[in-house]
């Protein structure tokens, strides 16, 4: 008996050592090679924006050219990256509802009953959001801010909001209470407590704008990562970059990997941002039909779309709608695809939208 045990241990030990050594060696080599390439052909920068990290990595050198690359190109790439960050910071300054000099702060506080003039850019963004709200049957709505504030306060005081509090606030939300005049770029709220929040949209919109700026400056290949919302573009389309989707059940693992090329992937889930009230965990995405934080079987929704804004909106809407209605929503869009992870008694289970054809690997 003892001998058997000993042999077993030895065997398993040997196996482990071997596999570990091999993978470590492989890893080291590929990492070295990769780092070398990256050092000489790309610039990667990281800023803290919109309460998360935005990383921009641009490749300025042609893939078929050999290093060393001219210093001039590198400097130019650096400049372009900083320009992109400035644009992202500008967008944050426009869309935040926490800063007194932002347009959103102004319309949130002063546009009840009397028209407020806003920039063309913001008017376009709001009208896009309202269109998506209509498509999603109200599951996605930028007027969710009063409810978010209510729940944030509730979390601070550790009490669950009263039903009549919720219902009175629910009457003060809803995209149909925004009257937007696109031609003169004016906005009026018909409810006094109505407030706009761009938390679900800002990152996607910023990514689209950054991509535009990079393309304008003739950057052909870039990887953008806005706190987990990715956008990769590459004109040469030579090698496909695989990206992973985090496992919502244990966040340091990857559950699935897909090739991402000239598209954006946005994931909505509750495992990073949530709060506790009286020991119960609530997610940060609020269902506008009930007023309560979304609580369904969905653990995470990833939407892949050529537009980062669309991916952002659809993933939030899908999360709020639930699996069946969410699938319908994805079906009605032109190009978006979705990968959903549900909680099957503590185990993750994957679902794909009907039009999903991106290929990919079970990781």
């Amino acid at each position: 008996m003892f001998l058997m045990k000993y042999i077993k241990n030895e065997e398993s030990l040997a196996c482990h050592c071997e596999s570990a050594n091999v993978s470590m060696a492989d890893e080291a080599i590929s990492k070295q090679a990769r780092d070398k390439l990256r050092d000489e052909g790309s610039v990667k920068r990281l800023h803290y924006l919109m309460d998360t990290f935005l990383s921009i990595e641009v490749f300025y050198a042609d893939e078929d050219k050999a290093p060393p690359f001219p210093e001039k190109e590198r400097d130019k790439a650096k400049e372009v990256v900083e320009k992109a960050f400035r644009e992202a910071a500008r967008i944050e300054g426009v869309l935040t509802r926490f800063r007194e000099d932002s347009q959103i702060y102004r319309i949130n506080n002063y546009s009840f009953g009397k028209p407020c003039v806003i920039t063309k850019e913001l008017a376009n963004l709001i009208s896009t959001c309202i269109e998506f709200s209509k498509k999603a049957g109200g599951a996605f709505d930028i007027t969710v801010a009063p409810l978010m504030e209510l729940w944030a306060n509730a979390a601070k005081q550790n009490i669950i909001p009263l039903p009549n509090e919720l219902s009175s606030l629910l009457q003060n939300t809803g995209y149909e209470n925004i009257i937007l005049d696109s031609e003169s770029s004016t906005i009026v709220f018909t409810k006094s407590l109505l407030k706009i929040d761009f938390g679900a949209v800002g990152k996607g919109y910023a990514l689209d704008r950054i991509a535009e700026i990079l393309k304008e400056n003739r950057i052909e290949k870039a990887r953008l990562d806005f706190g987990g919302h990715l956008y990769y573009f590459d004109n040469s389309e030579l090698d496909t970059e695989y990206i992973g989707i985090r496992n919502p059940m244990s966040c340091e693992e990857i559950i699935f990997s897909i090739p991402l090329e000239n598209r954006s992937i946005s994931t909505s889930a509750n495992y990073e941002r949530h709060f506790n009230i009286q020991g119960k965990r609530y997610g940060h995405i609020i269902n506008l039909l009930s007023g309560f934080p979304v609580d369904n079987r969905i653990a995470s929704v990833s939407v892949i779309s050529p537009s980062a804004l669309e991916a952002d909106i659809l993933s939030t809407a899908f999360f709020a709608l639930g699996l069946d209605k969410g699938m319908q929503l994805i079906k009605n869009t032109n190009e978006a695809e979705a990968i959903i992870v549900t909680d099957n008694n503590g185990k993750p289970q994957l679902y794909f939208s009907q039009n999903y054809e991106g290929g990919g690997d079970a990781a």
């Binding site: 042999i7 077993k8 970059e241 695989y242 099957n344 679902y351």
Partner: protein, 210 residues
């Protein structure tokens, strides 16, 4: 003769033992493998990478683009000040990183245009070294990360839950342990970072606005 006989006996005995136990070992090996596949889930360990984005000079050049003169100052806070800030901002000072506060003051034509504070906070997987640019009135201009430790997830080795698919099945080959750099997930939140920024804003007010 006896020596040879003894050697033969030992070898013979060894052979007998080997043959007797080899099947046990084999079955055990296969059992192990089957067993591992069914119950033990690999944790999919993640590696930590340190990444450097800016050097200090480079960062200052970006945060203070058209200043003629950059003055460096190191300030310390006394215990009372620290206590009152910690209470107001609802943060705690880190004994390791918050001994002193490093400020760069950008000036042009004798006028202060921008303050830059340098600090380190603890992130999820390691220290985050960052710079915060503040306008003279205390408004946050920009936050950039000089250095960061990042964890890259590894693929899960267990593919059991993939047996049921909705819609299309995925028939491309499974790639294990593939190097994956980008990871999509719920928007990353970093309490360390947001607390750090709040802390620096309060420290700035304490040091320069009084």
């Amino acid at each position: 003769m006896a020596k040879i006989f003894k050697k033969c006996l030992i070898i013979g005995l060894g052979l007998v033992f080997f043959l007797a136990f080899y099947p046990v070992r084999l079955t055990q090996y296969f059992c192990d493998r089957l067993f591992a596949k069914n119950t033990a889930s690999y944790t999919g360990f993640a590696d930590v990478f340190a990444e450097v984005f800016y050097s200090a000079e480079e960062a200052l050049k970006i945060l203070l683009p058209d200043t003629q003169d950059i003055k460096e100052e190191t300030r310390t806070l006394n215990e009372d000040q620290k206590k009152s800030i910690a209470k107001q901002a609802e943060i705690q000072f880190d004994p390791e990183f918050d001994k002193e506060f490093h400020f760069y003051i950008g000036q042009s034509n004798g006028q202060i245009t921008c303050y830059v504070a340098e600090n380190t906070v603890k992130g999820k997987w390691g220290p985050i070294h960052y710079m915060l640019a503040l306008e003279p009135d205390g408004k946050i201009k920009d936050v950039l990360i000089l250095e960061l430790k990042e964890k890259r997830g590894r693929p899960v080795k267990e593919a059991r839950f993939l047996s049921q698919f909705f819609g299309k099945t995925i028939d491309s080959p499974i790639k294990l342990n593939k190097d994956i750099k980008g990871i999509s997930g719920a928007t990353i939140s970093s309490r360390g970072m947001s607390n750090g920024i709040r802390k620096l804003v309060y420290v700035f007010n304490e040091v320069y606005k009084k």
